[in-house]
Symmetry: C2
Subunit: 219 residues, 2 copies
C-alpha cells in the first residue's frame, strides 16, 4: 500500500510538470504570435487549450482518488490539496495565454503602433515565475518559492510603465486608442499570469512550512 | 464520530455563508463608493479585506482538519475539496472588490465623465451570481448552479457594451482618456467577479453530479 502510494505521488508530480510545460508553452507562443505577428501561432494556442483543460481534470481526478484510496495524513494531505489548488491556477494561466493570443489576432490586423520591447520582457519574467513556482513545489525549495513572490512587484512595475507609455500615445492621437488598449490588455493578462504564479508559490510555502504567508499575515 | 463530523460540516457551511456575505458586501460597497462618490466607503472596503483574508484561512484550516480527522469518502470528500476551491474563489472576488474601491478613489478625484448606468447594473448581476453560486452549494441546487453559468454571458455582453461606449469618449476627447480607462477597468473587475462566480457554480455542479461541466467538455 505504502509503495503504491509513493508511486502514485510520483505520477502526480509528473502530471503536474507536464501541465506546467504545456502552460509555459502557451504563454511563450501567445507572445511570439503577437511579436512576430503570426496568426497561425495564435490559433495554435487557442486550439491547444482543450488539451490543457483535459489534463487539469485528470490531475484533479488523480488527487481525489489518492485522497479517497490512501486517506493520507499531515504533509501528504497538505501536498495533495495544494496540488488541487495549484492545478486550478495553472489552468487559469492557460486561459490568460488564450486571451493574449486572441488580442494578438486583433492587433496584427492593424499597423504596428510601436515596437514591442517591454511586453516580451514582461512575458519572459511571468513565464519564468510560473516555471519556478512549480519547480519550487517539485524540489521542495522554499527559497525559490519566496523568490517568486518577490518578483511579482517587478512585473507589476513593468505593467505600470507599459500602461503609462500607452496612455501618452492615446492622448496624442485618438486613432491610436483601440490599438493602445489592446496592448494595455496584453499587459494586464501578463500581470495576472504573474499573480497566479505568486498564488502557486504561496501555496508551496504553505505546504512546506505548514503555515501561510498569504495576505502577508506573517509580517 | 459520525455526529461530530455532521456538526463540523454544518459549521463549515456556516463559515462559507459568512465568507460569502462579507464578499457580497465588499462588492456592493465598492460600487456604491464609485456611484455615490464616497471615499470613506472605498476605504472601508480596503480595510475590510484583512477580515476576509483571515476567514479564508480559517475555512481552509477547517477543511484540512476535517479531511485529516474523519477521512471522508465519496460525496463528503468531494464536498470538502470543492469548498477549498470555492473559498479561494471567494477571496479573489474580494480582491476584485478592493480593486474597484481603489479605482473609485481615483475616479472621484476627477469630474464625472458620464452618468453611471451600466456599471451599477453589471455590479448587481455579478453580485447576484456570487450569492446564487454559494446558495446552490448550500442548498444542493443544481438548477440554480446551471443558471449562474448561463448568466455569465449577460455580464460579458454588458462589459463589451461599456467598453465600446467608453472607447468613443476617448476617441472624441483625449482629455477623457484616463477617466474612461478607469471605468473600463471597473468593468473588467466586475467581469472577473462574474467569472469567479461561474467557476464556483461549475464546482458545485461537479460536486453534485460527480462529473464536470467545466470547459464545456459536456457539449
Amino acid at each position: 500500500m505504502e509503495r503504491h502510494f509513493d508511486e502514485e505521488l510520483k505520477e502526480l508530480n509528473k502530471q503536474l510538470l507536464r501541465m506546467s510545460a504545456f502552460v509555459e508553452e502557451a504563454i511563450s507562443r501567445s507572445v511570439k504570435a503577437l511579436v512576430e505577428r503570426k496568426d497561425d501561432l495564435a490559433r495554435e494556442v487557442i486550439k491547444h487549450e482543450e488539451k490543457i483543460n483535459i489534463l487539469e481534470l485528470e490531475i484533479d481526478e488523480l488527487c481525489l482518488r489518492l485522497l479517497a484510496l490512501y486517506q493520507p495524513e499531515a504533509i501528504d494531505l497538505r501536498f495533495i490539496t495544494s496540488v488541487m489548488k495549484i492545478n486550478s491556477d495553472l489552468e487559469r494561466v492557460a486561459d490568460q495565454a488564450v486571451n493574449i493570443a486572441e488580442r494578438a489576432q486583433e492587433i496584427i490586423k492593424q499597423p504596428l503602433l510601436k515596437p514591442l520591447i517591454d511586453i516580451p520582457r514582461m512575458a519572459m519574467l511571468a513565464q519564468k515565475m510560473v516555471k519556478d513556482s512549480i519547480d519550487s513545489l517539485v524540489n521542495k525549495d522554499e527559497t525559490l518559492a519566496r523568490d517568486v513572490c518577490k518578483r511579482d512587484d517587478e512585473v507589476d512595475n513593468l505593467n505600470d510603465q507599459i500602461f503609462r507609455e500607452l496612455l501618452t500615445y492615446m492622448m496624442q492621437d485618438p486613432k491610436a486608442v483601440t490599438r493602445a488598449i489592446e496592448l494595455i490588455l496584453v499587459g494586464r493578462h501578463l500581470e495576472r499570469i504573474a499573480d497566479h504564479a505568486t498564488n502557486i508559490a504561496e501555496d508551496v510555502i504553505y505546504f512546506l512550512k505548514g503555515k501561510t504567508i498569504k495576505h502577508h499575515i506573517e509580517d
